[in-house]
Structure formats: structure tokens, C-alpha cells
Amino acid sequence: MTAIIELDHLSKHYSPAIIGVDDISLSVGDGEFLTLLGPSGCGKSTLLRMIGGFEEPTAGTIRLAGQDVTALPPYRRAINMVFQDYALFPHMTVGRNVAYGLKLLGCSELEIRTRVYDALKLVGLYDKLKLYPHQLSGGQRQRIALARAIVRRPKVLLLDEPLSALDAKLREQMQTELKRLQEKVGITFIMVTHDQTEALVMSDQIVVMEKGRIAQKGTPQQLYDHPASIYVANFIGTTTFLPGAVEAADQTTARIALGGGEIAANIDRPFARGERVTIGLRPEKIRILAEGETAANVLAGRVSEVIYYGLGLRLGVTLADGSRIFADLLLPDTLARSQVPPVGLAVRLAVAPHNVFVFAGEEAA
């Protein structure tokens, strides 16, 4: 895949002490849906705004389709943006909003009309042509902002938290709709979000950011199944962390002593004997063993908490040393509720060695 956006050692330092983006190099493939994911203040929005030309980098270069655009203002870049607040022009109708960017391109009246029609058709709002933005619902405004941005056929479309202003139900629906639209128009999308579900559902590639730097880049599955750090494991999905020490290790497996037992884990890099580590466990990958059943890794504890969340149950299990891990129990059958372990019951948990994350060092909590 050819790269459409290349960031080369890009930095934005507001002052020596305040760093927005710190030395980021990143390449975005043509036609890709890439998401910049991270908590507020991690620099993801600053990075997006630099690509759009709204912020000037203090160092580094931005290339768009091979051409250096670092010094170009936004109106000279073949990039468009969907703003978080949509930024629809309140004094113009939907039609004039969408047509505005085409008028500035110098398109003919006829071309403008057909392209506005196509763009509005694409988002399913052609009948709203003559309405003003304040007469539309939040979801409709969002789509108009999208139509206004893609009607110019940019090389790259930037989306700044595009769904954050919508209610939960609509957001879920728009996630798949946006993804489908992106595949249809074939434009590269770069989206900023702090919502991990949004990132997982929509992206081809996710870049997790931490304090102005890239913590990890990969496909949603790579990030979810092989988080590179405690930070990433903590940010994507739910993870319980336990401190431990390496008892024995070879190239691919390690035995790790925990306060409340011992656990085997698959590893992809060497660990030294006696090294302090943190292991991470996903609640949905932990199974509750039936009476007499055995497994490779067994942790014994007592149920201390039962949380019901509709889809299933999340059990808090306290181990012998007082540390607590979570295990999910799906409830595919309503009647199965009678088998729910009560608080105080002794249970044995099993987790496969390839589902145990091992991180060097201790959790900075």
C-alpha cells in the first residue's frame, strides 16, 4: 500500500515544559481508516490539527502524497476535516454549506449541483437541502458535516471526535455507517477518538498515543490481543494487573510466581529469572472451572463481588494473598442464572498461557 500521509519526526512543543506532540514518525496508507486513540491531553488532537494545517509543528515534516505540505495553510491542502462541533455555517442552508467548498474550487454551477446532490444522497439527506443547520438533529448535522468535507474529494479526511456529541444508540449506528461510507468513497480517514470501542469497530489501523508519543500502532486485533505495554492493555479493553516475579523462563514460556499462586504464560521476548513483572488478565478470557476439572493454569480464590451487566456477569474473585481478579461469565440462557456463584463461594479459575500478558516492571498505579 502506498503511503498517502507521511509524518517525519513531527513535534509540537508549546513551551519547553508543555509538549503537545513529541517526535512522531508515522505513515498512513492510501485508503486506510486510521484512528488516533488516547486519553485527553495525549496529543492526538494536536497531531490531527497539524495534519490539517491548523497548528504549526515546531519540528519535522508532513508529506501528503509525497509532497511536503508542512508550511501550507489549510486552504492549500487537499485535506478536509469534520470538526467535533461540526462547524456548519449557521447562516447558510444545508445545500449552500455543502456547495461552499466547491464554489471555492471554481466548479461550474452544474458540477456543483450534481456533486452536492451526490454527496447529500450518499449521507441520505438530500431532502434537507433547503433547511438551516439549526433545523436538523445532531445526527443529521454530523452527516452534513461529513458530506461537506467529502464533496471536495480530498486525499485525506480528518475526523475530530466525530461521534462524541451523539447519544449512545446513534453513535453505535454511525460507527458502522461511517466505516461503510469510508469503504465506499475510498478516501483515507484519520480519526481522533478517546473511545476504544469506536476505534476497534471502525479502524484498519489504530495508533495508541501516550504523552505526545506513539505507544503502539497496529490493527485492532493486534492491539487487543498483544498490547505492547501496561498502558495499552489498560486503555484497550479491561485488564486486571497482578505483580509477580519470573521463576523460570525459556524462549517461549515462563512460570511466574504471584502472591496468590503461580501461573504459566507464553512470552515473545526473553525474561530473566527473578525479574519483577506485571501480568495482565482479560476478564472474558478467564474461565470458572467445574468441580474436579483441571487446566494448565489454575488460580483459587473466593467470590467477593458479583456485577450484573445484562450480557453476563463479572465476578470479582479474591485470591489467597488478597489481590483480586475479574472473570466474566456470559449468560446465554436466562435459566442459567441459578448457577451464578454466590458471594463467598470458593472457586477455581483457569486461564490459558497464551491469554496471559507479561509486562516488564511493575504497574505504575
Binding site: P74, N80, F83, P90, H134, R152
Partner: protein, 270 residues
Amino acid sequence: MTTQTHRRASRFAADTAFATFIALLMGFLYIPIWVLIAFSFNDSSSLSWPLSGFTLDWYAKLAGNEPLLRAIRNSFYVATGATVLTLLIGVPAALALHRFDFPGKTAFRRLILLPITLPGIVTGISMLNMFKLTGLSLSLETVIIGHATALVGVVVTQVYARLQRLPPSLQEAAFDLGAGPWRSFVDITLPNIRSAIVGAGLLSFVLSFDEIPVTFFLTGRENTLPMYIYSTMRRGITPEINAVGTIIVLLSLGLIILSVLMTKRQGPGR
């Protein structure tokens, strides 16, 4: 049953009290104007109740009163000049305040507002001193300058407040869609602050039109309407003055309607 009747009765009392209050308020605001209009059509030159008969004499007299007509023309000239000058200075100043961050910005904002709060007499005397110093002879133009210094604050405050309420993303979106700084200002910023500019302009016009203290110090041999009325008042109110007042009320009404149309034609604001 009884509680319901009670409730209905007390509701009726509350409604009546409220309606009475509104009527009194409206009366307080508008009865003087109706009296003025009524007397301008009254055929007696003494301003006493009851009205004695209908006449258009005062309007006819007014049309032949050369000094009065001249004062009206002067007032329009001064108010228009002051408004245009104020807008020419005030709107760019508000834009600069909004766009740029510079040391002493807050101080600048306060200083620009100060002349509004200064009594007209102080502005008048100080401007008079300055014009004397620079050797400028007093005329209607010096009155325009005097009015503008006080009115710039009105325009800057109004336009700046509107700019502050505009989301910054609007201009960014215009940039994003290919508009340079000038295009984005004309196409996006200006239409969204237009009603504030029109409003501030109208307010400036009205304030300048009936201004006396500053005018008193800065005018040369020409008189504006309020100055003229003030000077003839020493001989008592004549129905002619009421006729002028009536015309001004009608003109103001026209101005208000015009401003509503001007700010509404571009479609719903927000």
C-alpha cells in the same frame, strides 16, 4: 370542590394583577409619546387638556421654519458621520481584539470603553481643549469626532461580544474548505456578526442624534436638532416641537423595522 374554586379565584387574581402591571408599565413607557403625538395635531398653541381640534398647521409651519430644518439636516449629517466613523474604527478594533493576543490587551479593552462612562461634559471640554491646541476650528465635523470617541466603545463591545460567541471552528471550517483569510471573513465571519454591527450602528446613530453635552462644546456656528430644541424651549414648548418629535418617532419606527428586516433577511441566525 371548594379548593378548586379557590384555586381558580386566586389564579384569576394573579392574572389580573399581572395584566395590570403590564398595562401600567406600557403606559409609563408610551403615554408620554402619545401625548406628544396628540398635541402635534392640536389646533391650540397652548398645551392644555382637553384637545380643542385637529390641525396640520404645525407641520406646515415646520416645513417653513428654515433654522429648524437646517438643524434637522445637521443632526442627520452628524449622526450619520459619527456612525460611519465609529463603525470604521470600531469593527476593525473588535476584530483585532478578537484575533490577536498582545500584551496589555485587557487594558486596551478597558481604555476603549472608558469614554462611554465619562460624562459628556468631560469629553466635551477635553476635546475642546485639544481642538484649540491643534488649531482646528469648531464645526459639525469636530462634533462628529467628539461623538465617535464615545461611541467607538459601544461598537467594539457589541461586535467583540458577538465574535467571542462565534465558535472558532467556523473560520477553521472555511479555511478547510479552501477559503483564504479574506474570503472566510467576508463569507463566514461577517454574516455572523452582521446583526451586531447593524445593532451597534443604530444605537450609535440614535445616541449621536440626541446628544447635547459634547455637541454643546464642539459645535461651531451650526446647531443640531436637540440644541435647537433646547434653545427654543426657553420660550416654552411649542406644538411645532411636538410635530418634530412625532416625525422623529415615526423615523425611529422606520429605522427599527429596517434593522429587523436587515438582520432577518439572511435567514435564521441561530
